[in-house]
Symmetry: C2
Subunit: 354 residues, 2 copies
């Protein structure tokens, strides 16, 4: 496959840099809508997310955040249950939250309509006001990332994370600590964009011809999956994204020399110790371990540490993705690829080939 010559400044790089503004605008637009959100949810005790790709990775964060922070049971839907099996489920106790940057992915729009016919209240999270997903929902949370032109989503992804936090804040039984930390997220993204500690080294490692895996857990699982997807679609490198537990339950057996393991962790919370032990274990098996974020022990357990945000676990995903995005954009250019238009992907994905 011949590589296209990359432009000197990419749209992806510009869009990564626009994230602090995207987060601030989205927060300003969405936080005031929490009372409306609570009214749409009513006394329904459950949330079901409908999403694919990057939006699905945002929903994975939303799922943990709702359960851990808001005490609301949450799960991810299997869209084929709606679109192909046309199952007859009772969703009268459920708020269905559909997430799609474009708001036009057919499968997601169709699943939202199905959910409504099953009795669900529906919330759409999209970056496009007036899109089919937005107009078909009981309530639309429109993120304010601005138009995104690069195929790999960046600023719309952090916009979706803000929407997830807004949802958790709205459905939590009492006001929590989420809001004050959210205010700091944009500042921390800004700091990471300027600092870039460890980013060049990470990019250098990713550009080498090696087997890469990415892992995270709990509130950071979605971030790990997003890092893996972003490397794969931007750098055209096969990468595996695993939950901590899935990795330990089998795939860890194939980790050895020649594997680069990327671990994503928050600086606090109940999971960072286990991630530190995993880093030591993977390193003991011969893998090169790179840690994004984490605490001092975590960084010491890794071969390379990439600086993460000074944010608590509950909002850390908004910052932790940033150094990875920066490195991935750089890696793509090093490899002679155009990060704005990787081969074989369209901006609006059609899950149905025909």
């Amino acid at each position: 496959m011949s590589a296209t010559r990359p432009p000197d400044t990419t749209r992806m790089a510009s869009e990564i840099a626009e994230q602090p503004a995207a987060v601030r605008r989205t927060l300003e637009a969405l936080l005031p809508r929490r009372a409306e959100l609570a009214a749409v949810a009513g006394s329904r005790p459950r949330v079901l997310f409908v999403a694919r790709g990057t939006s699905d990775n945002a929903a994975v964060y939303g799922r943990y955040l709702l359960e851990v922070h808001a005490g609301v049971s949450a799960a991810l839907a299997a869209p084929s249950v709606a679109t192909h099996y046309r199952a007859d489920l009772d969703l009268t106790d459920t708020v269905v939250v559909s997430v799609s940057q474009s708001g036009s992915t057919e499968e997601i729009v169709e699943t939202q309509a199905w959910a409504r016919s099953c009795g669900a209240r529906t919330v759409a999270v999209t970056n496009i006001d007036g899109s089919p997903l937005a107009t078909g929902a009981d309530l639309a949370l429109v993120t304010r990332a601005g138009e995104e032109l690069a195929v790999p989503a960046t600023k719309t992804y952090v916009g979706q994370l803000v929407a997830m936090a807004t949802l958790a804040s709205a459905l939590a039984p009492r006001p929590g600590v989420l809001e004050e930390h959210l205010e700091r997220a944009a500042d921390e993204i800004e700091r990471l964009l300027d600092g870039r500690a460890g980013v060049a080294e990470l990019a250098d490692r990713l550009a080498r011809e090696e087997t890469v895996l990415v892992t995270g857990r709990g509130l950071l699982l979605g971030t790990a999956l997003e890092v893996a997807l972003k490397i794969e679609e931007t750098c055209l490198r096969p990468v595996r994204g695993y939950s901590y537990a899935d990795l330990r339950h089998g795939p860890i057996s194939v980790v050895g020399e020649g594997v680069t393991a990327l671990l994503v962790a928050a600086q606090d919370g109940p999971l960072v110790q286990g991630m530190t032990e995993l880093a030591r274990d993977l390193r003991g098996r011969g893998a090169t371990t790179i840690g994004i974020g984490g605490d001092t022990s975590f960084v010491e357990a890794c071969d390379l540490g990439v600086e993460g945000p000074d944010l608590p676990e509950v909002v850390a995903p908004m910052g932790l993705i940033v150094p990875a995005q920066l490195a991935i954009e750089q890696t793509a250019r090093t490899l002679g690829l155009d990060p704005d238009a990787p081969r074989g992907l369209a901006k609006v994905t059609r899950t149905e080939a025909g």
Copy 2:
């Protein structure tokens, strides 16, 4: 890593061959318990599965089967929500089904206890009568696979699939077609064990040094994930398992020459056409495509077809895993590995490193 010399006959091979008997015994033991299961569930409209590894792959089948066949909303739990975040969820409307071959995996036992404290009714699916998981549940479905000694689970996995079908049958609002097809599953497994059409060719392909991915969808997604996990843990080959949709939303961009794509499909149902189109697409990108099961068009779209069972989609997973198990066991031996005791894995996995 030096390879150990494999024995002439492996435990894994014997246990694969014992699957018709395991299925018959388990059906005989579990089907009569459907009324009890329905009583434990009462009017609770939801099922939440708790599982890891191979058991999680069985639960993925259970999840689709409950939604598609029984009209019961189902989801997979995130155990860290229980074990690390100790979230306070209201599960009084939920039946929590925990799946573990040994019934001793700490994380699963702990999550079941948490679910009970959150108000859930609990059902344990395990192969070991009297295990902590079985004794801690409101009802235990003990599979009758017999003692499993090889590290890669085979006969206990098909036993778990039978338990999933029993559960769906018990919770369905009216008797369905599931039961009559279940009676034929053991016969079809027997036929596939004798016929082995395509198995040697699949084993030969897997033994070559290539990038392998496995994909499936809906009721067959769990089978695809199990094939991927089994190759990885038995043959120590890094393999990626993807849902059809996840593959289309990104990773397909890295598929090209040198990739072997293994597609799993039923001979009927609403998804086989899409899987056929995916096979053509992957082949068009230069991948070698191997189909397990499917209909005539699906087989024609693949470079190699491996015979699947003559079973409808709803119970096809019980047969479709068999040719893959046979090939994987053979591949491990070709590679000079001992399929009974792959490096780095214990029979009872401890998710917590410390």
